[in-house]
């Protein structure tokens, strides 16, 4: 192991820097090719930076600017400067805290089972199975479905009077549930939609990472008498740690931005997130402020608050990840 990993690095250091120290007579053509290559490099990356500037950086800064103004969609250029008032209002708004709480609980309800199931599925698919490609494709299909289509189907399944799930509950002698009315029931229903869409996607990421775990580790573990379950716990999980961290970060960002599912869950496009805001997420609150109530300044403030929350969570994850890997060393 050590030899293999050292060789290329030494070779790289030892190798003569051919490009920077060419023979004197070949200098002019050489330099021209490096320059040309550089120039084309800029041309190749330019589209990304132009698009990034126009559709990410500019809106990002503009949103920050708007969040310091009292402005409405009807009067988008004529807002008045209010400084941090929008932020103060936001922190005092019970709608914000309600939405933040809902976002957190729905996020946990959706992300934890989702990642656990994805890990399990990936482990199963990592065995030699007949028709593996088929199963992998099937797993990715929910992810390929549009949120709108998936949510409409699930909203009908979770319907109070004519939903399939309630029909089933009644058939086995249980009480019907008014999924949309309750806080927990509506959040569970939304979490189910999210989980359904993203489990396969995460499973494939785990699967890809599992396949790069050297087989010798398993062989060695097996020789030591470790069961399949012990192998999973002590070989697979530790090897997947960076991947797991990545999926946690991505899922967290997705959870903070959750919007389509709660918007479409009621089926009539209202943005209040249920009769008492029981499943109004931060994304939905932002949309309601901006596009139902036309208060663009408040919506921009909410968007920035969401961004800060994501930064904090990602930062926490990174710190935890670093501490853990340091502790392992």
């Amino acid at each position: 192991m050590t030899i293999a990993s050292q060789t290329p690095r030494e070779a790289l250091i030892a190798a003569p820097p051919a490009a920077t120290a060419p023979a004197p007579d070949r200098t002019p053509p050489k330099r021209r090719t490096t320059l040309t290559r550089n120039r084309w490099g800029y041309a190749y990356v330019a589209p990304f930076f132009l698009v990034f500037g126009a559709f990410s950086l500019y809106p990002f800064i503009y949103t920050a600017w708007v969040s310091l103004h009292r402005t409405s969609l009807s009067n988008i250029d004529g807002g008045t400067w209010v400084g941090l008032e929008n932020y103060r209002n936001l922190l005092q708004s019970e709608f914000f805290w309600n939405a933040a709480r809902n976002t957190l609980t729905i996020g946990i309800l959706a992300t934890v089972p989702q990642l656990c199931m994805a890990l399990g599925l990936a482990h199963l698919l990592n065995y030699k199975l007949r028709g593996r490609t088929f199963f992998r494709t099937v797993m990715l299909m929910p992810y390929a479905t549009s949120i709108a289509a998936a949510t409409l189907v699930f909203a009908q399944l979770f319907g109070r009077d004519y939903g399939l799930i309630n029909t089933f509950l009644e058939a086995v002698g249980l009480e019907r549930i008014d999924w949309e009315a309750g806080t927990l029931s509506s959040q569970v229903a939304i979490a189910v939609i999210v989980t359904w869409r993203w489990t396969g996607y995460n499973a494939l990421i785990y699967l890809a990472a599992m396949q790069s775990i050297p087989g010798e580790l398993y062989e060695a573990a097996e020789i030591d008498g470790a069961s399949r379950w012990k192998q999973f716990l002590h070989v697979t999980i530790p090897s997947l740690r960076p991947t797991i961290l990545f999926t946690i970060v991505v899922s967290t960002i997705g959870a903070v931005q959750l919007f389509g599912e709660p918007l479409l869950f009621a089926g009539n496009g209202t943005t209040s997130g249920g009769s008492s805001g029981q499943y109004q997420t931060l994304g939905l609150l932002m949309y309601q402020q901006g596009w139902s109530n036309f208060h663009i300044g408040q919506a921009a403030t909410t968007a920035w608050a969401m961004f800060m929350i994501i930064l904090v969570i990602v930062g926490l994850n990174a710190v935890i990840g670093r501490l853990r890997s340091r502790a392992d060393r």
Partner: protein, 439 residues
Amino acid sequence: MFSPSRRNAAVGAALAVLLTTAACGGSDDSADAAADYDPDAPVTLTVGTFGTMDFDNAGLYDEYMELHPNVTIEQNNIAQSAAYYKSLQTRLAAGSGLDDIQALEIGFIADVVTNHSDAFVDWAAEENADELEGNFYDWKWGQASTQDGATIALGTDSGPQAMCYRKDLFQQAGLPTDRAQVAELWPTWDAYLDTARQYKTTAGAAFLDSPASIFSSSVYQGEEAYNDEDGNPIPGESSGVESAWGYASLAAEEGLTANLSQFGDEWNAAFSNGAFATIACPAWMLGYINSQMGDAGAGLWDIAPLPGSSESASNWGGSFLGVPKDGENVEAAKELAEWLTAPEQQIKLFTETAHFPSSPAAADDPQVKDAVNEYFSGAPTGQIFGAAADGIRRTPIGPYDTQIQEAFTTALTDIASNGTSPEDAFQDALKASEQAIGG
């Protein structure tokens, strides 16, 4: 001389500037269109509409193009009214991308009147203003008029309300089914609630679809709904809100409604499942019921007046046509908008596609007045809705009516589904409306 990399950066920057100017430019044309207007010059007019406004289905565009061979009409339709309005607002803010004629829904007309009246042609300043005004119910003309007397849009259809009921379910519950006798069951909302209680005990089912059905139809029966005379929102002090909330929260608390949220999936399914026996019924709702139930519902429904309509009728829905001032074909667009909203065309829109007129002259025409709806057991829709349209009060409307109404109907649902007390729910609704208004 530039080093190559810096030159590239300069090219990139120039490109970026070019792109942004291209995206933002191109808005200051037009201006003196009226001066050199030639009525026979070939012109293409665009009409921005939403939902099913049916000018095309009633054949009005074709007829106009036949009368004016130089005119070509193109319609840009967006299915959802809310999505249509968001794109209209951003275009108004940008001052570009507007169609020659823009349709405006009643839920948004007050916002346009308050915030964008400068962007539209003022019909009250036209030479034929008196004639135009005479075409419409005064409440309809008033809804599109500013405080200082500018009128920014002409009415198309309107939404006078009645109460639709299921004859078969009434019969099973031992209630009369004849529409004259049904009308006597509910001269007032209190009487209507008594009937609902009676129905609930005998049939064991909900009498109406949702508390919203009571709230949104009775709130406009008062002197004031969500705003005072000056158009300032006063949801907490309005007499209309107070009485509508009283009736609707009683119905929600006592479980007299199926507690469906209107236009949701379950509500749609409930039509064919007979989950409720009555529903507040603006003229356009007839088409909605028909499309939900299909042929199976023919003859099951009938129409009676709205409870309390002897005091005041109520309007729900309806639209307007406005002509943006800075368009390229303002004169031609004005002609088309006047023609499309004239009484004769409103009559055609009613007979072809059942949109009720906003013009008393059209409503009095025998083609409208004597109209019956076979699907609704031959109910005399022309007379029922005509009487309602005559009795509509000129209630002040404001820019936030749609949002405030949603806050209240949402809170009513909470009473019915989560057992929240009407007092708490009212406070929730007030908080939600304040959030919608403030900012």
